[in-house]
Amino acid sequence: MTVPLDVPGATEAHPEAVLQGAGPIAGRSLGEIAWTRLKRDRVALTGGGVVIFLIILAIFAPLVVSLVGHPPNDFHQDLVDPELSTPIGRFGGVSLDFPFGIEPQNGRDLFSRVVYGSRISLLIAFLATLLSVIIGVTLGVVAGYFGGWVDSFIGRLMDVFLAFPLVVFAIALAGVIPNAAFGLSGDALKVSVLVFIIGFFSWPYIGRIVRGQTLSLREREFVDAARSLGAGNVYILRKELLPNLIAPILVYSTLLIPTNILFEAALAYLGVGVQPPTATWGGMLSDATNWYQTDPWFLLPPGLAIFVTVLAFNLFGDGLRDALDPRTR
C-alpha cells in the first residue's frame, strides 16, 4: 500500500513566511527573545515591579520615613496602655500618624521599622547572593571544565560545606564576634559577618548547577573548535563557557535572593545578627511572638513584609527562568 504522490493540492503548499508576505526576516538575539517572552508574562512583571519598588524604598528609607513616619527607634510610650502594655486603639494602634500601628510596650513606629528593616534584609540578601554566586561559579566552572582530580576535590569540598551545621555555627559565631573587628564596628560588622556566613556556606548549591552545565558545554562543537584553533583554557572559560552560563546563573541568583532573605530572617529570629534596636524583619517577628495573645497585630507588618518580598522575588525568578530557558516549562 503506497500513497499516491500526486495528492491534489499538494503543489499549492507554500512556506509560511512566504504566505504571510511579511517584511524581511530579522535575526533576533537570545536576549531579545527572552525579553519578548518575559514581557508577555504579567505575573513575572508584577513580581519584578514589586522588587524594584522595594529596592527604591530601601534606598530612600530615611526620606520615606521623614515624610510618613517617625524615627524607627523613638519610643512613644504615651500611646501604650500602661497596665496591659498593648497599644491603645484598634488594630495595634493604627492611625494616620502610625499607618502600620505601634509596637507594644515601647510604642515604636512599626511603619518606620518595617521600612528600615527592608534595608538590612535586602542588603544582606543581595551581598550574600553575590558572594555565593562568585565563589560558586568560579569553582563550579573549574570543576566542570577540568574534571579529573580537580573535579573530585571540589566535589568533596562542596559535600563538606553542604554537611556543615550552618545555623549552629552562626549562633556560635554571633556570640564570639566582638564589637569591633577587621576595621569594622557595630551594625556594619554584624552585616558583614552575616553576609559571610550566609554567602560563604551556600555556594555549593550554585556551584553544582554550574558544574553540571559546564560538563555538558565542554563537549560541544564550538568548544572543540576553539580548542583546535589553539585557544587556551582561560580564553575558553571566559569567552566560550561563561556567556553560555549567564542564563542559569541569573535565574539561580534571582531564586537564591528570597532564600537568603528567609535565612536572614530566621537568623534574626534566633537572635543572631544585627543588635537591637536596629530593626530587622526577623527580629521584629521574634519580638511579636511574645505578644501574639494580647497584640496579634504586631505580627502582621514584619510577616507581610517578608511574605511579599519573598513572593515577588520568586515570581520574578520563575518568570525569568521560563523566558530564558523555555524547555524547562
Binding site: P82, E83, N106, G271, P277, W291, Q293
Partner: protein
Amino acid sequence: MRRTRGLATFAVAATVSVGLAACGGASSGTSSSSSSSSSAGAGSAAAFNAGETSVVNPSDTKGGTLRMAISDDWDSLDPGDTYYAFAWDFVRLYGRSLTTFTSAPGKDSSKVVPDLAESLGKSTDGGKTWTYTLRKGLKYEDGTPITSKDVKYAVARSLDKEILVNGPTYFGDFLDLQGYTSPYKLKDAGAGLKAIETPDDSTIVFHLKKPFASFDYLAGLPATIPVPAAKDTGTEYKKHVISSGPYKFETNEAGKQFTLVRNTNWDPATDPNRKGLPDRIEVKLKQNQADIDNQLLAGTLDVDVSGSGVGTEAQGRILSDPKLKANADNPIGTRTWYISVNGDVAPLDKVECRQAVQYATDKTSVQRAYGGATGGEIATNILPPTISGQQRFNMYPPGADNKGDLEKAKAALAACGQPSGFTTTMAFRSDRPKEKATAEAMQQALKRVGINLTLKGFPAGDYYKLYAGKPDYAKTNGLGLMTNGWGADWPDGFGFISQIVDSRTIRPSGGNYNLSVKDPAVDTMLDKAVTTADQTARDALWVDVDKKVMSDATVLPTVWSKGLYYRPTNLTNVYFTPAWDMYDYASLGVKK
C-alpha cells in the same frame, strides 16, 4: 547559690484557649459574687490584693479535694534534692523541717518559727554551735517515731551532690565537715559526720566552720526534713518519700501526676504551723500553661503550683474584668531586677560617671519593660520590701515623674570629666524579651544626656559562665552595663544581698552573679552582719550594706518584681506569703 524559679514567661500558652476563655469568664464571674456574700469571719472577703495582707475566706472546715496543676515538673520530690521555691513551699505538706516560716500573710511570714524543733536554735561558741531539741510525739506515716538521728541522716545525705544533685549547698559551705562527703560512701551511714551530733533521740547539735547568726534559716531548709536511713533508696527515694507531715503519698506517676492523702500518724497537737484542711490533694504535672490559667478562672482548678502567677493573656482578662480582679493579688516578690554598672570599664571607673547613669535612667520606661505596674514596682534600692528589716531609700531621685533627673545627670557627667557624655556597651540576655526591652529603654534614656549605649545580647545559658559573669570578658569587651536579677533563697539580708555583693565570691574563671560590686568595705560589713547575733541589729547591718553599695552606684536597681496571682473562689484560707513568693500551700483549704 540561686534558687531556680519558674519564670513567668510571656511566651507560653496556646491560641486555642482563646475560645475557652469566654465561657470561663462567665462562670467564674457568677461564683465570685456568691462567694463575697457568704464569706465572713476574722479574715477578709475577696478583694483585689486582699490576699497580700490578710487571710481570704478564712476557714477551719476540713474535707474536700485540693486540685493543683503545673506546666512543668518538680526538680525532685525528695526534700534533700530540690531547689525550686514552689517545691519548698509544697514540701511542707509531706515533710517537716526543724524550723519553718510563720504561717501568716504579709511581712509576718518572713519570721522563722520552730517546726520539728520545740524552739529556735540555741547558739553557743559565738554562733558556731547550734542546738535544737525535737518536739515529743513525732511520728512518720508508718507510726515509727522521728528521732534527731533521722534529721542528721537527712542533712548528711543532702551533702552528696553526686546523688542528690539539685539542692542548695549551704550546709556543705557552713558545716565543719572535716573531709566528710556522703553517707552513701560509708558502710555505717551518718556515723562519720562529726559536724552534727545527736547526744540523744531528741537533741541535735550543729558545729559550723565559722559563726553564722542566721542559722535558723538554714534549719528551715527542706534538707532537714527527717529521712529514715533504713527507707532511703538514694536517687529512688523521691518515688516514695516517707511523710512526716499531714499528708502522705497515695500514688506517684513520675512526670504525670501524684496524689496525697491524710497521714493519720500526723498529730496536729505537735504542729502549730499547718492546718491540714483538705482530705486529698491531686497534682497534675506538665499541663499547658494557658490551660492552667483558663481552668483557674473557670474554677475547675484550685492552684497553679509553680507560684509564678498567670500568663499575659489571663492577666489581660483579669485586669479588665472587675469581678475577676477581686479574686486576684498583685504582690511584690523577693526578687530585684537590676543593672550592674561595671567599674572595670572606663569611664565608669569614676563614681560620678556611674551616678550620672543612675540619674539619667528613665525608671518608668524600664518598669514597662517588665510589664508595667502589674509586673513590678520601681525599685530605688537593692533589698526588696519583702526582706525582713528592709528600708526604702532613694539616693538618686529620678525626678517627680521617675523619668530621670537630667540636670543632676549632666552635673555628675561634668564632675567625672565627661561633660558631653561617653559611649559604652550594655549586655543583656538575648532570649529574655524583658531584658532586651530594658536595654532598649536604657539606650533611649541615656541618650538624653549624651551617654550612648551599644547593645549586645548574649545567650542566657552562658551569660554568667562565659560573658557577663566572666570579669576578663566583661572588661576587655567593655561591658559597662549588664542586666541582672536576683531572688532570695530566704527573706533576710543574708539570703538576698550577701550573695550578690561579696567581692570575694568573684572567680576569674567565670560563673559569677556579682558582676560589679568590688568594694572591700562592703565585704567587711558583710562579715560583721553574718556574725551579729541579734536579728534587729543584723537586719540594720544588711540595710547599711545596701546603702553602701548604692552610694558606690555599682548597682542600678530598676524593678522589684511583682506577679499577678489568681485565687479561685473555691479556695479557703488563702494568703500570699513573701517567704516563698506565692500562696501558702500548707494552709489552703477548699469549699468542696
